[in-house]
Each structure stands twice: as C-alpha cells, then as structure tokens.
Symmetry: C2
Subunit: 194 residues, 2 copies
C-alpha cells in the first residue's frame, strides 16, 4: 500500500526522477549532519543541480521534509495499528512511544517541525502528522481503557510528549533521555492520589 516517490499525477521524466531522488538523498545527508535547517542551496549543490531544480521539485522546506519522512510516518502509523494486537496495552503504548521518539529525533530540529505541522494545516507535513497522532490515539485509548494510563491524557498531549522527549534527547545524553522517558511513563500512570 505504500508507494515511494513524488505522488506523480503522470509519470515523471527520467531526468526529473533522477534529480528528485538525488536531491532526496543529499537532503537526507545534509539534514542528518546539520539538522532540518540545513542550507537548501547546499543540498542542491551536493546533488549537482541548480537550486531552481530543487525548488521546482520541493517548493518549500516542509515539502522536502514531507517527501523524506513520508514512508517513515506511514510506517509509524502502521506500527501503532499492529501494536493494537499486543497483549499488554501499556507495554504496547510504551513501545510505540519509543518508536515515535526515535522517529522525531532523527534530525535536529525535526521535533519542532513536527509540532508546527500538526497545528498548521497548510504544512505539507500536516496530513502525515495527523495520521500519526490518530494512530497513537487508538493505542492511548486502549491503555486508558485497561486502566494503565491516566484518563485525563489526550492524544495531542501524547503527541506533544513524544516530541518534547525527542527535543530533549537532541540536547543531551542518551542516559538522560532514557531517564526522562521513565519519568514521563510514570507520570502517565493513573495517579495514586484522589
């Protein structure tokens, strides 16, 4: 069900396809090295095309990010659906949260983009983010129904939490990231107090 590529109305010309792929590959490398605010000028240079070509394929930085992340976002949503079959609702939720954090921590600045995109309907990433949020919602609701997670937590809360943990992870050590995740998990438990 997943297709890779630029959602072509008609088939792309061979040179266009080549450039498109090359741009994606170089963007991935640049983002991995310098974060999502990397120079697009530089991406085009590395891909060996004029910057106008980059802009014709990807009108905005978000569009480029969307193309880079599309498959992963779909995979993340799909993972959520699979985890609905996991026998332990709480463990399933935690496993998915880990996957979400790893996803959002892929590039520096990505978590911030993912947060912006869920609010901004004009963002090319919006739909994908929305799909991820919704997929997570099912898992969250199941865990809540099982009494494993506090009932006042909403899906947007959970989405934000995952991104916040990814953001925090960008800035510090893996150990601290792991500890903060532990705190978050405990914080989501139904409160001991009335």
């Amino acid at each position: 069900m997943t297709t890779t590529g630029p959602a072509p109305r008609r088939r792309m010309r061979a040179d266009a396809r080549r450039n498109y792929e090359r741009l994606l590959a170089e963007a991935a490398a640049a983002f991995a090295e310098h974060g999502v605010e990397s120079s697009l000028e530089d991406v085009a240079r590395r891909a060996g095309v004029a910057n106008g070509t980059l802009y014709s394929h990807f009108p905005t930085r978000q569009a480029l990010l969307e193309a880079l992340m599309r498959d992963r976002m779909e995979a993340l949503a799909s993972t959520a659906r699979d985890l609905l079959d996991h026998p332990d609702a709480h463990e399933a939720l935690i496993a998915w949260a880990r996957a979400g954090i790893a996803h959002a921590a892929m590039y520096r600045g990505l978590a911030t983009s993912l947060m912006r995109s869920i609010e901004d309907e004009t963002s090319e990433l919006h739909a994908a983010c929305q799909a991820v949020l919704t997929a997570g919602e099912r898992l969250l609701e199941r865990a809540q129904a099982a009494g494993a997670v506090r009932s006042d937590a909403t899906a947007p809360d959970f989405y934000t939490l995952i991104n916040a943990l990814a953001w925090a992870g960008e800035q510090t050590t893996p150990e601290q990231g792991e500890r903060l995740l532990t705190f978050a998990i405990d914080g989501l438990r139904p409160s001991a107090r009335p």
Copy 2:
C-alpha cells in the same frame, strides 16, 4: 546586589549608553514578537542605529540574549534560594519549576537557547544558566531528602525537564501545558513500584 547594564569596565559614553538601552528595548520587542531568531538587522533598524553599532555592543546573538535575560536569570536563582525556606520542599520545587517554565517560555526559541547554553561553555549565557541549574539543584535535593521526589532525578534532568515543558508550551495551548506539567510532577514522585 543586582546591577542592570553592560558590565562596564569604565563608564560608557552617554550616546553609547543610550544606544545600548535602545537596542535592548527593541530586541525585547522583536524577540517577543518573532522569537529569538529575529533579524538583528531589523532590531538595529528599529533602534535607529546602524547594524555595526548593534554588533559592537553585542558581538553575538547570545550576548544580546544574555544582556536581556541577566536580571531575570539572577532573579530566578534568587527565587530558588528563597524557596529553600518554604516549609514544604515539594511545593517549593513545584513553585520554582513553574517560575522556570514561565522564564524559559518568554520568547519563542528561548528554551532551545537555554539548553544549548548549558552545554556550551563559550556561550555568553552559559554562566547564568549554570547558576540557575545550581540553584535548582538545592531545591531538588531538599525535595529528594524529604522523600517527595524520586532519587534518580539529577539537576540536569530537572533543568532539561523545565526547558522541555517550556518548549512544549510554546507550541500548544495553556491547558495542555498545564496538563503536561501535572504529568511531569507525578513522574518525578518516588515510584510506587519496587
């Protein structure tokens, strides 16, 4: 004990002082409106000086931010010391966390700068951030000693947590921010489980 101003070795010339203050005021306005990544070009324009003047007063964006935040950071550290006298160690910690979050959420992008600065010793903000972290550490340790907070949480964890909550608050509604704070507070409780 607090002095406002550019930590002058000798007294500044009157025109320099005037420009310095004007630049700070316009930077505050610009940062409030557009976040800490505002155009410095624009700040200089709004202050009615050439951009070279801005750079001569504030060699880097961090230096400008430091000048803007200095008093507030000192106040935040001072608040932490005062709260050591609060009868309830846990309440004191929570009250201070709220103050810290409000502080770090003052400008869009500020939490990210505050995280960068605690790591980067060459940052003009580093010392102030360090002071805040240390002040918070006392409060945290007292709450831990009182058995109100889990003992595996470190001061850097707490610092990161506050900034992460401020970051999350930048992106969403006050209600969600409040809920996430609740989760964080509960997550910091000594765990119910072994």
